[in-house]
């Protein structure tokens, strides 16, 4: 090989090397661009591809009453699962889990031996048991914590509070209405998986913590609610009634202090039908039975209010000027309306009486006369103005509307029956709200439970506001109504509602349920106190009592007993200041 040859070949070899080196350098530059410049983008994209999300339940907000008692709470429960690939000592795992979870060893063994990514052994396990299992520190056994709704007072205000379903969302009651506030925000556990979706245990997990729901403070008062429940239970038992409802509210602002509908049900076992119920044949029947059990009589059901509705007729009469307190009437025991003879409950008649006495006697002819004087058009307008045609807007789901004649169908007979509370239906809450508005000075309030929403740090997020419609009756009419209704309790048909040392106003009612002549009655009493400045209003309704069924005799005493206990209590608490 010539020297010249050798020189250029050597040079070319070096040039080749540098060409390669240059290519390497460019590729290294490309790598820097990809691994530093684009790293974020590709890391993010790869993460999206590799990570699997598992939800972590958020702690649901609590429901807290006006005394600070927690009515709906969360309990930490555990889910116990096994990860097949991580189990090192299957025999001990089977033994321990079977013992602690009170399961058969065969059942556990079957799950432990099953080849799957993760196998659930048992959920809704008490936290104490979960902690115990965790202490064994067994490989491949996972204890996940979870929240479960828990109602410390079991049956208390069950139909008001409602309960939650499996995925922690509200099913009935306040739990539904305040779902948005209560539910919180789910967190996530991100785990790495391979292309087949199998979790990579070594990669660990990333958590996005859940946000707890907000607490909802309600106007219910656990003491009043408990006592009212006792009274209702007593009444239901002694009168062998189908059901008893008691509603206690603040007539000034619409806050509901108690809403009892016995029989209540256990909120911690909402799918268990009451004892002694025959096992439903079909799923549908069971669902119907459950729906029946969950019904809140105060708002979901309508009834003919009967004589308590005379409060409305009286207010409309006074407001329209159709009647004054001094107007005189005469009751022969019946009244003719067109060709119909409508009887008074007192067969012999009440004789001569003024309007106040007529109300005290709950005399049907007096109110029919007043209704006639008001006239269909005007009466219907008052009916509407008092808010009876619209729902009350209470913060509970499923409020029933008023069942009322169409205006054009109201003739003299219909008007006469409406005047003393028959031939149409309203809900108890509607009656209580309308009566409240009439005695509180004429402001139509919205009945409600929700007071404020407080976040988990204890800061008030929202103070709940409710519409008030002013001046549905004048202040004078309102005052007159308070006076008349106090007379009813002092000296009239509601005297069983009288409470020593307090001024109580009220009205009784005894209505026969449809069809007439069935012998089924609804006895009720609506009372408020103090009569000159009502701070509390209560309605007691006894559905289908046996034996004596007069509202004045069986419903009024319930309200009396209630007032005897809660009036001093409310004063002591200085509730309204």
């Amino acid at each position: 090989m010539s020297v010249k040859n050798r020189t250029y070949i050597r040079k070319k070899i070096v040039v080749s090397f540098f060409l390669c080196a240059a290519a390497f350098f460019l590729l290294a530059g490309r790598l820097v661009y990809l691994m530093v410049g684009c790293s974020e983008h590709y890391t993010e994209a790869a993460k999206d591809l590799h990570e699997r999300e598992r939800a972590i339940k958020a702690a649901r907000g609590r429901i807290i009453d006006s005394t600070g008692a927690v009515l709906a709470d969360n309990r930490t429960v555990c889910t116990i699962s096994v990860i097949h690939n991580q189990i090192t000592d299957p025999e001990t795992v089977v033994k321990v889990l079977a013992k602690e979870l009170e399961l058969s060893e065969e059942y556990v063994a079957k799950r432990v031996e099953k080849y799957s990514a993760i196998e659930r052994i048992k959920s809704n396990v008490d936290k104490s048991i979960g902690d115990k299992i965790r202490e064994y520190d067994l490989d491949g056994v996972k204890v996940d914590e979870d929240y479960k709704r828990y109602y410390p007072y079991d049956t208390l205000a069950s139909k008001v509070l409602g309960f939650t379903g499996g995925d922690n969302q509200g099913i009935i009651g306040l739990e539904v209405i305040y779902e948005e506030y209560l539910k919180g925000k789910e967190g996530t556990i991100l785990t790495m998986t391979d292309a087949k979706g199998v979790e990579i245990a070594e990669a660990g997990e990333e958590r996005i913590e859940p946000e707890s729901g907000n607490d909802v403070y309600v106007s219910l008062d656990i003491n009043i609610q408990s006592y009212a429940t006792q009274l209702a239970m007593q009444a239901m038992e002694t009168k062998q009634a189908d059901s008893v409802s008691i509603l206690v509210m603040n007539p000034k602002n619409g806050e509901i202090l108690a809403m009892v509908n016995v029989p209540e049900f256990n909120l911690n076992a909402p799918y268990t039908l009451p004892e002694g119920t025959p096992e439903p044949a079909t799923q549908e029947e069971k669902q119907n039975a459950l729906n029946q059990m969950w019904r809140n009589g105060c708002i979901n059901d309508t009834y003919e209010p009967g004589s308590t509705f005379k409060i409305i007729t009286a207010a409309a009469g006074l407001e329209s000027g159709a009647v004054t307190v001094n107007d005189r009437f005469s009751c022969p025991g019946y009244i003719m309306v067109e060709d119909r003879r409508i009887r008074c409950h007192k067969v012999g008649g009440h004789g001569a009486e003024d309007f106040v006495q007529g109300t005290m006697n709950s005399c049907n002819p007096v109110f029919i006369t007043v209704g006639m004087r008001i006239g269909v058009d005007s009466y219907y307008d008052y009916f509407k103005k008092f808010g009876l045609l619209t729902k009350t807007g209470i913060d509970l789901p499923g409020e029933a509307g008023t069942i009322m004649h169409k205006k054009e169908n109201i003739g003299a007979v219909e008007l006469a029956t409406i005047s003393f509370g028959q031939s149409f239906q309203i809900t108890p809450i509607q009656l209580a709200t309308t009566a409240s508005s009439i005695v509180n000075g004429g402001n139509r309030v919205t009945p409600h439970f929700g007071v404020k929403v407080v976040n988990s740090e204890g800061e008030t997020v929202e103070t709940l506001q409710y519409p008030v419609q002013k001046d549905i009756v004048s202040a004078e009419t309102s005052e007159t109504m308070r006076y008349i209704l106090e007379q009813v309790v002092e000296n009239g048909s509601g005297k069983n509602g009288y409470v020593e040392g307090y001024r109580v106003g009220g009205k009784t009612a005894t209505s026969q349920t449809l069809p007439r002549g069935s012998g089924r009655y609804i006895s009720s009493f609506l009372g408020f106190a103090p009569a000159d400045d009502p701070k509390v209003l209560a309605v007691a309704i006894i559905n289908n009592p046996q034996g004596v069924y007069y509202g004045g005799q069986i419903a009024a005493p319930i309200v009396r007993q209630l007032f005897e206990n809660i009036l001093p209590y409310l004063e002591g608490m200085d509730y309204n200041t």
């Binding site: 070949i9 080196a21 590729l27 290294a28 983008h41 790869a46 292309a195």
Partner: protein, 384 residues
């Protein structure tokens, strides 16, 4: 011989640097093969060391072959030039014989002889190195003529075309042609022709890419043009042609500067196809980060530097050209492999020398290293 060695041991040269670089790359490659293949081996129902064991066996065989070849004086090959060329050419059509052919990953590129699989394209690379080196030596000064120039360029073409058409292996065809081009570049004193050829080639490629990207707006595409489009915008084609590229980019990009740590790749868990094979470099990036990737590139640079040193000091032109051929082979494969996984060029199957999984590839590479060591042995220390 033995007596002479004893008398003057420093007279003979042995390139330990080259040997150790190769051994390092092999060792590193085995670690990475275990890391990348254990998951897939498990998924296929094998033990996790399934691929590792096979590769270790091929490596051991290759090392033995390397030692043997290193001790054979390389001048012998000059006599077998014609056989090397014709033999390589003859092996390629054998993949068409049903009794011999072996198919993997949907490509028929192997022949099976007595339990061993062999890729004719690998043989052809070695064959073309030997036959071209020999041819250039025989031509002597004739290489300087245009006729000589094009003769050398034309010799590998039949083999390239066969590899491309029969085994449908575009990348190996390009590598064989690239080896020949580099050898010609070194052997010929010319620069101008190469610059023109290079520039012309670049222009043609640019034109082709431009034409395809324009045409894609209007009509349906063939297999290869789809690859070009996937190259231009892999994430838009991530569901088919760009899938592997996108997965490789995820692996590389998510590695970052320091990587996720050896064995911690997620992309190898079934996301990235061929993770232990053509795409192993992207897993290196993911696990060892930019530092690991640059370190490996530096190792290859060192290797090529050793080739340069040996080629420059080779006792004769034939030896020098053999080393240049091997250098071309390894350098081209490394460059193309990294270019593919980083989506610098369109996706085509090229393995990373010494590191990618593949038995016949590593064996032939080690034989080539043996040839280089044999050439290095001919260097007398006083010549350096």
């Amino acid at each position: 011989m033995a007596i002479r060695k004893k008398r003057n041991p420093s007279e003979n040269y042995f390139d330990y640097s080259l040997l150790f670089i190769v051994l390092f790359l092999l060792g590193f490659g085995l670690v990475m093969i275990y890391s990348t293949s254990s998951y897939e081996a498990n998924m296929q129902g094998h033990e996790s060391t399934f691929y590792l064991k096979r590769q270790v066996m091929a490596t051991v065989l290759g090392l033995a072959a390397m030692i043997v070849v290193a001790n054979i004086p390389y001048h012998i090959y000059e006599r077998f030039a014609a056989i090397a060329y014709l033999g390589s050419a003859a092996l390629i059509p054998m993949v068409l014989i049903p009794q011999l052919r072996y198919t993997a990953n949907g490509a028929t590129r192997w022949i099976r002889i007595g339990g061993m699989t062999l890729q004719p394209a690998e043989v052809a690379k070695l064959g073309i190195i030997i036959s071209l080196a020999s041819l250039v030596c025989k031509m002597g000064r004739a290489i300087r003529t245009t006729k000589g120039f094009f003769t050398v360029l034309a010799i590998p073409l039949p083999i390239c075309i066969m590899i491309r058409l029969i085994t449908n292996n575009m990348s190996s065809a390009i590598i064989v042609f690239g080896i020949a081009a580099l050898m010609l570049f070194v052997a010929s004193p010319e620069y101008k022709k190469f610059i023109i050829m290079g520039a012309g080639g670049m222009a043609a490629i640019a034109l082709l890419v431009f034409a395809i990207s324009q045409a894609s707006m209007t009509e349906g595409m063939g297999f290869r043009s789809e690859r070009i489009l996937a190259w231009l915008n892999p994430e838009a084609h991530s569901s088919d042609k760009g899938f592997q590229t996108v997965q490789a980019l995820y692996a590389i990009g998510s590695g970052g500067i320091l990587g996720k740590g050896l064995g911690r790749s997620v992309q190898k868990l079934g996301f990235l196809p061929e993770a232990q094979n053509d795409m192993i470099f992207s897993i290196i990036c993911e696990e060892l980060g930019l530092f690991g990737a640059i370190a490996i590139i530096l190792m290859f640079l060192l290797l090529i530097w050793r080739f340069m040193v040996i080629a420059s000091n080779a006792p004769d032109l034939f030896g020098a050209l053999l080393v240049v051929g091997v250098m071309g082979h390894i350098a081209i494969q490394v460059i193309l492999n990294i270019a593919v996984v980083t989506n610098t060029i369109p996706n085509t199957g090229i393995s990373l020398p010494f590191i990618s999984y593949g038995g016949s590839a590593v064996m032939f590479l080690l034989i080539e290293i043996g040839v280089v060591l044999s050439v290095a042995k001919g260097i007398r220390l006083k010549d350096i």
